[in-house]
Subunit: 232 residues, 2 copies
């Protein structure tokens, strides 16, 4: 990946987006690159947090293992999203494991380099605060959903959020452009694989989503999903 491609990625990111060209150039220059195959972990939950990452292409699933052996998917991350920074800045071990849901490229900065960048470009710190605020909002919304809504609503809301972040229009409807398993959805919504499967089967029956078993989910009637996600 050349310097220009890196800068393009940085422009899309929460951390560098909207900052002046010289900041982008400094950021791109300090960045290393890494490629992950599907299924590879970027780092492990519990590792010492030493490095900031930004997704350049592909998709990461952020998994948190619970003490009693279960697993929760905290979120999916695509191009421009930051990974690891919260743990690095707080100086705590990474609290979750990011796994490539597809072939994925990331840019990385050591904490030392990032601190240099932040010192030289103070706007970065404000962007970091903004990014973390967004994360807090999102978590509060999900907590509220899991705490108060029924499973079908939560699944609908989760699918819609992913569509909003990553959906691509096709002839048949909107497609989620990376493999998203029923297990993934279950671990995002706090339910079981089985319940997700039953729910999606009903949606296929109703013509809301595509029945073809390709690994990519296609939503044919997004508006119906909105109704479900808002149903009392």
């Amino acid at each position: 990946m050349d310097a220009n491609a890196k800068i393009t990625v940085l422009k899309r990111s929460n951390l560098f987006g909207g900052l002046p060209p010289e900041t982008l150039e400094a950021g791109a220059e300090a960045a290393k690159e890494r490629k992950l195959d599907k299924g590879d972990a970027l780092f492990q939950q519990g590792d010492d947090a030493t490095t900031h990452y930004i997704v350049a292409s592909g998709r990461l699933r952020l998994d948190q293992a619970t003490p009693d052996g279960k697993n929760v998917v905290l979120r999916f991350m695509g191009p421009g999203d930051l990974v690891g920074s919260v743990a690095v800045m707080r100086d705590i071990p990474y609290p979750a494991t990011p796994i490539a849901a597809d072939e994925t490229r990331v840019l990385s900065w050591t904490q030392a380099r990032m601190m240099d960048l932040m010192q030289a470009h103070p706007a970065l710190a404000m962007k970091a605060i903004n990014m973390m605020g967004g994360r807090i909002e999102e978590l509060q919304e999900r907590l509220q959903q899991v705490a108060t809504q029924q499973v079908e609503r939560r699944i609908a809301a989760t699918v819609l959020k992913i569509v909003g972040q990553s959906g691509r229009k096709t002839e048949a409807g909107v497609e989620i452009p990376f493999p998203l398993s029923r297990q993934d959805l279950a671990e995002m919504t706090g339910t079981t694989l089985h319940t997700v499967s039953r729910t999606l089967s009903a949606w296929i029956e109703e013509g809301i989503i595509e029945g073809r078993r390709s690994s990519h989910i296609v939503i044919k009637r997004p508006h119906r999903l909105v109704e479900i996600s808002e149903q009392a």
Copy 2:
């Protein structure tokens, strides 16, 4: 409240804690004070976020109303805790309403004053990042709990967290020094008033908590609660 008392409060806070005396003095000087009676709201969810607050004494309950009329308790806040800052810094409306669970005093800063302080004392920005990181961690933990654990475990974990933050030793055990209703606990754990009541009744039966109906919960056997919160 005099300048010294304010400084003492700031020392306990996530934002000013550990910073040099001149920063504390500058912060205390710029702060206004406000008193809330039990039940008063500091501001309303949806209001324009203009002001940062730190709790000086007492206790606030942070309520988030859902679109469909339900309510979620995001957290309780005591002396030293920051309120409103995330919304102010992101320039979005306050996402929740803080209500005094008891008589409560807060210190406040307008956004302009706080920005001046941050400019003059850059360590404040790093502290803000740290504070927000802590919030993210806590939310992720609660999400994980609501998503994977049964109700009794969640209630136990929630009570223990509150005890850890605010518990006071008494002859009978550890006391939660502010009124905490079954409804509050239900809205913190994503269950109903009824289920919380049944659960606490069983705990009283087992001698884990005090049966006397005073408005303050007393935990007689904290260790048993830990067991419950960890039970497979």
